[in-house]
């Protein structure tokens, strides 16, 4: 069986997954070499923890603070054709406190609420404007009377009666009776 090697540090620091840790412990029962290496690792770790705190020197602090001050202008940007710098495909784990009712700060929560209200109000206004625009386009007053568009109709009865009378002019055995109820608008120019 393979020795633990680089996994010894993870085992000592308790960073192995559950199954991996079980397999490592089983290996330690049968491998004296790895047991010795683990003991050495633990001893070194305990020794480091037992050291007293070391205060940084004034010079070191001033050097670190100087790094935070504005420096020289940035170098020109590389050409767009240049190969982008490789970036890690991962990001550090978020170490901020979890958000939620108990974790969110009151100021941030209020700002998010205001922003949400604004978004909702803007959406409602946009939707209302769209509906009003569609309603104005669909009103019967300004829409063309295409055959497929239902419109309110008031039949011009007097005109229809006159047209009916005229249509009977070619019939030899029909009375011109509907002429009797026609209006002055039916008056012909005559001869």
């Amino acid at each position: 069986m393979r020795h633990l090697d680089e996994r010894i540090s993870d085992l000592v620091d308790d960073r192995l997954e559950h199954d991996e840790r079980d397999r490592a412990l089983v290996h330690l029962t049968v491998c004296a070499h790895c047991r010795e290496a683990v003991d050495l690792e633990r001893d070194a770790r305990n020794a480091l923890r037992s050291l007293p705190d070391v205060a940084p020197s004034e010079k070191l602090l001033s050097s670190l603070l100087a790094l935070a001050e504005p420096g020289e202008p940035l170098p020109p940007a590389p050409p767009s054709s240049a190969t982008p710098a490789p970036v890690a495909g991962w990001r550090p784990r978020d170490s901020r406190p979890p958000s939620g009712p108990s974790g969110a700060r009151p100021g941030a929560r209020s700002a998010r609420r205001v922003r949400a209200v604004r978004v909702v109000a803007l959406g409602m206004c946009t939707t209302g404007a769209m509906l009003i625009l569609l309603a104005s386009l669909g009103s019967t007053g300004n829409s063309p009377g295409t055959p497929d568009t239902p419109v309110s109709v008031v039949p011009p009865l007097e005109q229809f009666t006159v047209e009916h009378a005229r249509s009977t002019g070619g019939l030899p055995f029909v009375e011109p009776a509907s002429l009797l109820v026609t209006t002055d608008s039916s008056t012909g120019d005559g001869w």
Binding site: L131, L133, L134, A135, S136, L137, G138, S139, T140, S143, G145, T146, P147, T149, P150, V151, S152, V153, V154, P155, P156, L157, Q159, F160, T161, V162, E163, H164, A165, R166, S167, T168, G169, G170, L171, P172, F173, V174, E175, P176, A177, S178, L179, L180, V181, T182, D184, S186, T187, G188, D189, G190, W191
Partner: protein, 367 residues
């Protein structure tokens, strides 16, 4: 019966002109009824009388080659109410051979009727075919009208009832007197010449330059059978017949409406189709009648006028015919249920839907 209700507006300017036609008309009607012997309706149903057929064909063509002028009384009753309500008047008639007919009411109001040659005739070759196709005809006797000898021809329905009586001039075959009846013998219309002069000027109803604008404007609006087929494909109803021999003989556009003219040779019905729906709130002066689940709005007239909404169209009927023909039309194009009409109110959401359709049509390359 309100005789001369057109006269009563004082348009003629003289009392004599008001009184004489009012008194003359009932006297004429009564006198003519006494001198003409009616033939019992039950005595027929033996096929067309060839002599009557010949007379009717001559009469239908008489206007093509005979000019005349005269005074005629016209009376019509409403097919809706079948009451005493009627309209009557004495009119001046002037006709030019092969041309138009001008009918003047008290020398003030006039109308020009086009002859058959001015329309796109859709019902066969001869106007007499309408009557001969719908009725059985026979010669009933002889009579005198306006001092001229006439032959009386009767048109019978299949049930034996008389639909019309025609007094045809022996010399010219012109119809000098006409009467039409409903199935129960109720008089629907009547007219007769009081005086008539055969011959006269060869021109009638022309403007100074000899061009009649009425004919020109009608030619563009006339529809042929091909046009009617296209309209049907676009959703217009355009029935070819109303039943009972009422066949489509002329169709044309009137503004945004389609006018369909039907006749059986004696009765006439005009059907006007418009796109849209009928808004009852905008209808004033109409009576209402229920038909199935819908409502028909009526004006008794005469002539009887009815209008209703049917499947996205507004149907308006002007009828000088028994109501049976209109009932058949109502069965073909039933009025929309009342609930459906209420739903067609021009509400906010209806407008939104139509607006969305319009916006969609802007981006539709195939629209």
């Amino acid at each position: 019966m309100s005789l001369g209700n057109r006269v009563g507006h004082g348009r003629t300017g003289g009392l004599a002109a008001l009184v004489v036609p009012v008194l003359a008309m009932p006297l004429l009607v009564g006198a003519l009824a006494v001198f003409v012997q009616a033939v019992p309706a039950t005595s027929r149903d033996v096929g067309d009388d060839p002599w009557a057929v010949q007379l009717l064909r001559q009469s239908a063509a008489a206007g093509e080659h005979v000019s005349y002028s005269g005074t005629q009384y016209v009376s019509t009753w409403s097919a809706l109410t079948q009451s005493a309500a009627s309209t009557s008047a004495v009119v001046q008639v002037r006709h030019a051979a092969g041309g138009q007919t001008e009918i003047s009411l008290h020398d003030r109001q006039s109308a020009i009727l086009d002859g058959r040659t001015a329309s796109r005739w859709l019902a066969g070759e001869d106007p007499a075919d309408l009557l001969l196709g719908a009725y059985t005809v026979r010669v009933a006797g002889e009579d005198a009208v306006a001092g001229r000898y006439t032959t009386v021809v009767e048109a019978f329905r299949s049930d034996g009832s008389v639909a019309a009586r025609l007094w045809l001039d022996r010399e010219t075959a012109l119809p000098l007197r006409r009467e039409s009846y409903t199935t129960d013998g109720y008089t629907l219309s009547a007219s007769a010449f009081v005086t008539i002069a055969i011959g006269g000027p060869a021109t009638c109803c022309k403007t100074a330059d000899g061009v009649d604008p009425a004919v020109d404007s009608r030619d563009d609006s006339m529809l042929r059978w091909d046009d009617i087929e296209d309209l049907r494909e676009d959703g217009w109803h355009c029935p070819g017949s109303l039943g009972q021999g009422m066949d489509l003989y002329e169709a044309r556009r009137v503004g945004d409406a389609i006018q369909l003219s039907y006749s059986d040779g004696v009765m006439t019905v005009s059907v006007f189709e418009q796109s849209g729906w009928l808004d009852p709130d905008q209808l004033d002066g109409y009576d209402t009648a229920d038909f199935d689940e819908g409502v028909v709005y009526t004006r008794p007239g005469p002539p009887a006028r009815l209008t209703w909404s049917s499947d996205g169209r507004v149907i308006t009927v002007v009828a000088e015919a028994p109501l049976d023909t209109v009932r058949e039309l109502l069965e073909q194009l039933p009025p929309d249920p009342v609930a459906s009409q209420e739903e067609k109110k021009d509400g906010f959401f209806d407008r939104i839907g139509r607006g969305a359709d319009r916006v969609g049509s802007w981006f539709n390359p195939f629209d």
